[in-house]
Amino acid sequence: MPDETFDDSHVVVSSDAAADTQASLSAEIQAIHRSYRDAVAAGAAEETQPRIDFAPYRSSILRHPTKDLHHADPETIELWSPAFGQRDVHELESDLTIQHNGEPLGERMKVRGRVLDGDGRPVCGQLVEIWQANSAGRYIHKRDQHPAPIDPNFTGVGRCITGADGSYEFTTIKPGPYPWKNHYNAWRPAHIHFSLFGTDFTQRMITQMYFPGDPLFALDPIYQSITDQKARDLLVARYDHDITTHEWATGYNWDIVLSGSNRTWMEDEDGE
């Protein structure tokens, strides 16, 4: 099994926790969500990001800051992002199905969408990186030793540079769900990891895209670390038959909104 604690035996809390049942883990998640909903009903602000202190995800227990984040105004370098371009990424890197000599196994799919900032401006010419398990739920990683087959024709890594309208598109294979050791019989919903840059370094983010209707959503402490249902829904791609292509690949649409830009936009940039 992909062992969250493989060769890090010092993470005592998480290895012990593998004995917990899904039922007790789910009860923990539900209790946190209930108190969140009660707080919102009593006037508390809605949450838009995952909680970093979310004990049902056992590995988070010793790895989240316990002090409040320090509010800061971004300055100079933080108001800019590193620049990437065609020099960095070849356009074929967005097709994860052509990286080997043969066709990978599984459901061929496209995922297409746009990267926007909080004001709805497209983030153009920026780097998008993805990585994922294969159709059997296996990663090409030494720590993933669960007995599902490696596909010699699928690595599961892709990159692209967004277009002028902030658009990206990857051709890949639909990833499978996979077991992990957060608790007994723990399974992650199928997902694709996304790494994103904006116009400001403060917008840098890594997240996971999920698939509609996954029966594992309610059981997964990583997905459920986002306590607000509306916020959680933002990580689920939409099946889009207009992206699906005849006798070739199914299609999904997923737009990504980064946090607001704090930089003053100059006319020439806005006009692009």
């Binding site: 993470v11 989240h64 320090h70 909080g118 997240t207 990583i222």
Partner: protein
């Protein structure tokens, strides 16, 4: 190249809800690192130095599966907007680098001292931290230790108690290298930053 003076701060007016982050997970190692990812400059370049340290969890144990990214101005304080970070040619300084820690939680970048980006400002390197077990990215800063007058005037540092502000200031080693550790929890927990609109 962009002159830092072109930038001004304005309050963010976010209209669309931001997509939530998620943990980087345990399996990024075959996907995100690339050749020379942590070499912002060649080791042979005059002024090249090692920026290194260890990432620790709440029990003081090193974390073996974290990823750090740094983003900085060049030695003159100029913010570079050149491409080529993913294809290091050994000559082009892009100001951005990525390093995953080793089995004992250590990272090491090869870079140069950033210059101050405004007159009298304290030079710092912007950092983002990802690791399995961490459900969202964390932002922080690495300040150079030398200009104590500028450090004292820095708005972020000035707002912090003495013991906490030191977590953001690197230690200069005898050979010119910089040492800076990340502590996700504990007595010496690193100061992490949140920004408007986030």
């Amino acid at each position: 190249m962009i002159e830092p003076s072109d930038t001004e701060q304005t309050p963010a007016t976010t209209k669309l809800p931001a997509t939530p982050g998620q943990t980087i997970g345990p399996f990024f190692e075959y996907a995100l690192p690339y050749a020379k990812d942590g070499e912002l400059v060649s080791q042979a370049r005059p002024g090249a130095l090692r920026l290194h340290g260890t990432v620790y969890d709440g029990q003081g144990d090193p974390i073996p599966d974290a990823l750090l990214e740094i983003w900085q101005a060049d030695e003159d304080g100029t913010i570079v907007q050149g491409t080529g970070s993913l294809r290091r040619d050994g000559y082009t300084f892009t100001g951005w680098g990525r390093e995953s820690v080793d089995n004992v939680g250590c990272y090491a970048f090869t870079t140069v001292n950033p210059g101050g980006t405004a007159p009298g400002s304290a030079p710092f390197i912007a950092v983002v931290v990802f690791t399995r077990g961490l459900l969202n990215k964390l932002h922080t800063r690495i300040y150079l230790p030398e200009d104590t007058e500028a450090l004292a005037k820095d708005p972020v540092l000035a707002a912090l108690p003495e013991d906490r502000r030191n977590t953001l200031i690197a230690t200069r080693e005898a050979n010119g290298d910089l040492r800076w550790d990340v502590r996700l929890q504990g007595d010496r927990e690193t100061v992490f930053l949140s920004f408007p609109g986030a």
